[in-house]
Symmetry: C3
């Protein structure tokens, strides 16, 4: 089923050294079929850098997530690739999170397909045997925060205007249990309880204090720090490290894999409710209005709609 999901779209891969550089990608920005992910794999170090380049804010649309899953899977199967750095090519944002337009005004089948892809993304990265580092060079709310938390290590730019967190309740929606489990594994039960209930977004220094990110560095040093950190992680024998990682994460992963269909059904039932659709509709309208007035988006849930409207 997973394979099915991925193979449907396997034509749009950008993995390999021939893939688009960020500059090329930027030039192609208006081309909707352009790769949304640019992967640079350095055979000499065994490290791949994956740049998210879906303008303007790396919203996690179905297409984007599918491309991301394919790219990660290819690296995973390439035994010469030992480490993966995730970062953004877009200014000011790492990822704005799940694309709200995938959750509004669509068919139940679409919602189901979308949710399965979101699960798949989490399973692929959280369960990766590679060392995974998030180089968070911009805001990272909701699904962007989830993607960061699935990595082994998080380095964030020290710009106080950037924020990170699972802010779902602020939109009237609820983070599913495996978002919650991932956050609990990262910052503990009590911090998660408050953060999830209030939909808190943290600036970098706050995120560092609660352990939501591991390091905060000047913006122009995020990627270099990620590379240095990767070297340290790769000094450990892969086999022992990957077995240890699996031991830590398997119970959490098993919980989703054994409840996957129920979780999809739960999401579809929730998102198709009139009240939820209405809330999302009002929210999207408000954002369009704000955008028309030229207001700066402060939370990325705002910019999320920019990516799709």
């Amino acid at each position: 089923m997973v394979k099915g999901l991925l193979s449907q779209r396997s034509s749009c891969s950008s993995h390999g050294r021939e893939c688009a550089t960020p500059v090329l990608a930027a030039q192609r920005r208006n081309n909707s079929t352009a790769p949304k992910i640019a992967v640079e794999f350095d055979q000499s170090t065994g490290v791949a850098v994956m740049r998210l380049q879906s303008p303007p804010v790396n919203s996690l649309s179905l297409d984007f997530i599918t491309e991301l899953c394919i790219s990660v899977e290819k690296l995973e199967m390439d035994k010469s690739c030992r480490g993966l750095i995730l970062t953004s090519s877009q200014p000011k944002v790492f990822s704005a999170g799940l694309d709200i337009t995938e959750m509004y005004g669509k068919s139940p089948e679409h919602y189901g397909e979308f949710w399965r892809a979101v699960q798949e993304m989490w399973l692929k990265i959280y369960g990766s045997s590679m060392v995974t580092i998030a180089a968070i060079n911009g805001s990272s709310p909701a699904g962007g925060c989830l993607m960061s938390m699935t990595c082994d290590y998080r380095i964030m730019a020290d710009n106080p205007r950037y924020s990170i967190g699972l802010n779902e309740t602020q939109l009237g929606i609820v983070a599913p249990f495996w978002f919650k489990d991932t956050m609990t594994n990262t910052v503990g039960h009590r911090t998660t309880e408050v953060a999830l209930q209030l939909g808190l977004l943290y600036n970098p220094s706050e995120a560092l204090k609660i352990g939501l990110v591991d390091q905060v560095v000047p913006e122009d040093q995020v990627l270099a720090t990620a590379t240095q950190t990767m070297t340290k992680w790769l000094a450990i024998p892969d086999h022992a490290r990957a077995l240890t990682k699996s031991m830590m994460r398997k119970p959490t992963i098993d919980k989703l894999t054994s409840n996957r269909e129920a979780d999809i059904q739960h999401f579809v039932n929730f998102i198709t409710k009139d009240s939820i659709q209405k809330s999302l509709g009002i929210y999207m309208a408000m954002l369009k209005k704000r955008r028309a007035r030229g207001q700066r988006a402060h939370v990325l849930s705002v910019t999320r709609v920019w990516g799709s409207s």
Copy 2:
């Protein structure tokens, strides 16, 4: 069964705007049938303030707990009530914890009824869909600490003579597994392991440091801070917040609900032991003596007996 427990005593409710103000309650202090709980519900904000007013130290007697459960249940069923602030009308004490006289020299049936009420109090507050804030304006040992921990947020007065903690082992008794689970969810496994074994009571700044309370403010600002904090929590859509809260707490709640009768039996077996009854008897005698000598109680387990003897 729960309903049964509550309906037996449903005549002594003080819920609603017609209920006693703290001043009136204080005047009635010597009347044993006076309400032990004063609830002020503000329809305009959707927030109820519940004042514990069982002189002198808000000991959690069977009557008191029953009245508390009824009051919480009424608010829970009133959909216009969205938030609940718990605080004390008694000087220097939030609650002295479980009333030791309910656990000494009584019948097994009485112990069972008492313990079921303690469980019920925890289930009602820990599982409440309302936002619950503890405005801890005095010491809060043992059951008082448990009651605080069942809330969503804890604000404590900065008076260094006040203390909070689960100090059961100091009396030779053992906090049950759901007290332990609640504390673990609040401050983590390791801190709980030490705190419970040593029966530690923390002053406000220590409690803040380990995360047992969320905020420490000057004594005269405890209630105002609780009100401001409530406003922040109520800015989140109720439905999403309450579902998130349930997701965080349900596993812990389920553990008690599915072991409720066994937990009661366990308590009755433990408390009826000769050695435990003897310990409690010695302890109570010592406290009466101290009281006769006019010594100031430092730990609330001490003041616990004052409320009943």
Copy 3:
């Protein structure tokens, strides 16, 4: 089976006041049948001090672990013994961890017997009803760290050259699930995830910061501080404290007891792999070379081999 393990070697006990003092033990250092553990039990306080004295670095060999288990079991059965302080008689090292020579070039049967003893050591100390305090007066990597974590409280010497941690991945091996569970219970999920993957060794102040030890004091005050701390713990009624401790640790202990044979089989399968044996062989050769060149060992995994080669 456990009894069987222990009774085979019950002749080498050193428990009781007649046992070797550290000074005598030092004089006997070159006698391979000399007790590896010296126990001083003070009837007046109910506290036993157990000194690890297996030169040069208290490597956890099968003989050493067996003697340790017997000593702990004897104290456990002596109801007048309420507290146990574990410390080292060897300079600069608390314990260098599992003896690597027990895991290299031996038969599967030997590996199985060795691993059962390691499990037994953990079960005995982690589940002890005594108060257990580790007076960590030297480095404490791998199995040394595990032994420390099984105690109720950890006090470490402030010497920055000492380190503590589960550094198994650095040798290409993997800490088993119950090492991981013990560490998670001590420092939480996230810190454990990073520490175990990278095989991190912490200096005392780092260890204090993450909660891997509870207190750091000058080297000459480690034992005195342990004794004072013990007095505080013994002020709590034994029965209530031990029941509370069991409530906190039982789920973790049950996980191993119900998977004990599978865990042994898993260890034997892993350690007999050609690749693992080859890694350990290379590692041991490197250490011998280093030692020949007179280099100072910085990590205790290094000194581990000194103890046996």
